[in-house]
């Protein structure tokens, strides 16, 4: 194996590995823009120039592979390549490239959304000059170009690294983008008549090292240094991409993908990303309520349970139709199982397999629920795709629906029948994070925390288990379903695990033998792949 020396460090590399990836592997800092581990190598930005012993000029670390030398030609007797990232030549190369990149750069930082997470800013501080020698009028180019429904392009800020172009060519294979014009006037544009409209378009914003591509939804919302982040999982399909929720003052402002090779690589789809917008539109009710002829009455969480128990005495909840959801976390499913055994006459429960669209070759899955695999694991049956819910309600006096808006998800042809079936029930309990169309038909409404307002664990379609985190604090009367079950069972006078994620995670551990010796720490940050136990 070739032996590489970078600065003072000796690194064994595979033949053909580039200097940059070897350096990154060993934590040696080499600045780079156009290199991206998931994309082909372009050698476009020249930021990664390093001095290579014996080479007549600095070489780009990203595109220089290390090869073996014959034993008698080894440098210093043993190295196949000697690289310096801090020598005078390397320093000068870095400084000059940065000066060059900044020649026509508008320095919009005060209004640029990238400021704070901008590689140009960071490298300028670390490797660049503090002032510019360029005294002339800068070249101006188009700003605020909407190259796609969710992406805005600013040619002045662009450093032409072509990451975005390569993403569209290599990852989504849609190839909307290209570089037009030449020299200082070069800019990224879509091919004539095309738009950047592939289902992963906002990923270009993530990989753009500067603020040239900004997301329309997040544009100008908040400076990134005000954001509070939580590492979580996207709940929008059974891929369960690792994401980060960025929030400010309790509002989710954006979702960005986290690197997780086993689940989503570096990407996530636009639909999942736009969850941040859909969250805002959900009709929320922050208190549990009971509907009588006179209409809804809402109570605090504590006051609700005794009244609910009174109501249960008059109704029959011995064998309800129980519709649970792949949107529940494993803890909530464990809680459902316990509740079913103690208060619902052992109702098996069925998790709806809501599906739409098609699986694609990258991430998007037809199953729109993140945790159906988990439901099977916990011994909850999963329905066929998009089932007729009215059929599930047949011959039932009562029903419990958790985290599903069956009315909205029903096919148009079945909707009327479903509403009728729901109205015909003697007791309909709906537990959900939003006051949905289904909830409006209910007799009892239990508000739950939304996916991003609670902790939990979820398993994706390949059996990869990840932990979600609480991105914002929920209002005090909205609880996760497992906490509601704790309160329910306590009010009914029975034994229940105490409320809170930790206690219920312990219940999950009992049900999933593979988790028994795992602690929460083992699940962070990327989760674990469960062994093939798929039912």
């Amino acid at each position: 194996m070739p032996l590489l020396k970078i600065d003072d460090q000796e690194i064994e590399v595979k033949a053909g590995e580039t200097v940059l990836s070897a350096a990154l592997r060993c934590g040696i800092a080499i600045p780079y823009y156009c290199y991206h581990p998931a994309l082909s190598i372009a050698g476009q930005c020249r930021m990664c120039l390093v001095e290579v012993k014996g080479a007549p000029k600095p070489l780009t670390a990203c595109s220089t592979a290390v090869t073996s030398l014959p034993p008698d030609k080894k440098m210093d007797g043993k190295y196949d390549m000697v690289v310096s990232t801090k020598s005078e030549i390397a320093r000068k190369a870095q400084r000059s490239v940065l000066e060059f990149l900044l020649l026509n750069h508008p320095l919009d930082c005060p209004i640029c959304d990238q400021a704070g997470e901008c590689q140009l800013q960071e490298y300028s501080y670390t490797y660049g000059n503090s002032s510019s020698r360029f005294d002339f009028e800068k070249i101006h180019g188009p700003k605020r170009v909407e190259i796609g429904a969710h992406v805005v392009y600013d040619s002045e800020r662009c450093i032409k690294c072509t990451r975005c172009i390569r993403f569209c060519e290599e990852i989504t294979k849609t190839g909307e983008l290209t570089l037009v014009e030449r020299g200082a006037h070069a800019r990224v544009d879509t091919f004539p008549g095309r738009k950047l409209d592939n289902p992963y378009s906002v990923c270009t914003v993530d990989i753009c090292p500067v603020g040239a591509l900004t997301s329309k939804e997040f544009r100008f919302k908040e400076r990134v240094w005000f954001l509070q982040s939580a590492n979580s999982v996207c709940p929008e399909c059974s891929r369960g991409c690792s994401v980060r929720y960025d929030t400010y003052k309790g509002d989710v402002l954006r979702l960005v993908p986290r690197e997780n090779p086993e689940v989503n690589g570096f990407w996530m789809c636009d639909y999942g990303r736009l969850l941040s917008e859909r969250i805002k539109e959900l009709p929320r009710r922050d208190r549990p309520g009971i509907r009588t002829e006179k209409g809804w009455t809402f109570y605090t969480f504590e006051a609700f349970w005794p009244i609910f128990m009174e109501k249960l005495k008059k109704e029959d909840l011995s064998s309800p139709a129980a519709i649970v959801s792949g949107r529940m976390t494993l803890e909530e499913m464990a809680a459902y199982k316990l509740l079913a055994g103690k208060a619902l006459g052992g109702a098996a429960g069925v998790a709806l397999n809501v599906a739409s669209g098609q699986d694609d070759s990258l991430l998007i899955r037809r199953e729109r629920r993140p945790n159906l695999y988990g439901a099977r694991m916990m011994g909850i049956g999963v329905s066929e795709e998009n089932p007729d819910v009215a059929a599930l309600l047949k011959n039932k006096r009562s029903a419990l629906i958790i985290r599903e808006d069956v009315v909205k998800d029903a096919a148009e042809s079945q909707k009327a029948a479903l509403v009728k079936a729901l109205q015909g029930l003697g007791l309909l309990i709906v537990a959900d994070d939003a006051f949905t169309a289904t909830a409006e038909l209910a007799h009892v409404y239990i508000p739950l925390t939304a996916w991003h307002e609670m902790e939990g664990t979820t398993v994706n379609f390949k059996g990869h288990l990840q932990k979600t985190a609480r991105a914002v604090m929920p209002p005090r009367n909205r609880k996760p379903f497992h906490d509601a079950v704790s309160a329910w069972l306590a009010a009914a006078g029975g034994q229940a695990p105490e409320a809170g994620f930790a206690a219920w995670f312990a219940e999950v551990k009992k049900a999933v033998p593979e988790l028994a010796d795992k602690s929460l720490r083992d699940l962070l940050p990327r989760g674990i792949k469960l062994k093939e136990a798929a039912p």
């Binding site: 209004i111 700003k143 240094w225």
Partner: protein, 169 residues
Amino acid sequence: MKLQRPKLTWWERTYFPAILQGLAITFRHIPRIKKRVTLEYPEVRWELPKKYRGAPVLLTGLDGHEKCTSCKLCQFICPPRAINIVAGETDLAKEKFPREFTIDMGLCIFCGYCQEVCPVEAIWLKDEYELADYDRTRLIYTKEELLARGRKPPYLPGKEKPLTEGDKP
């Protein structure tokens, strides 16, 4: 460090000479009627130093719009977090503007950091100091109020309109 205490005589150690001296000093000030420093405030006013830091205000640019581009650096630097900005997009060249801009004058400590940090000189500490109110909510100045207070840039006294190109500060 060893402190060198002055050597005192027996008489001095009774405190009496010092006490008497002090009494004499204070007594001598009683009849100095001419040299009273009191400023009888509402009628007589203090002449403010040039760089006096009073209420922060927003300045209007040459184009008649607020200069602020809503970069929120002032919001970030403000020690008591008195500033709150909601940004929006505008068709003007500056792209970004403050949809809402409030300063809670109940919190402001007149440190002037906002003026210092602003990249476009849009916020300025004016020589205004009579800011008291009976109602805290009225101490939260909106963007409109801040702009109205900042109408006359303080470096061009007496100018009612926004500056034009010809005005030399």
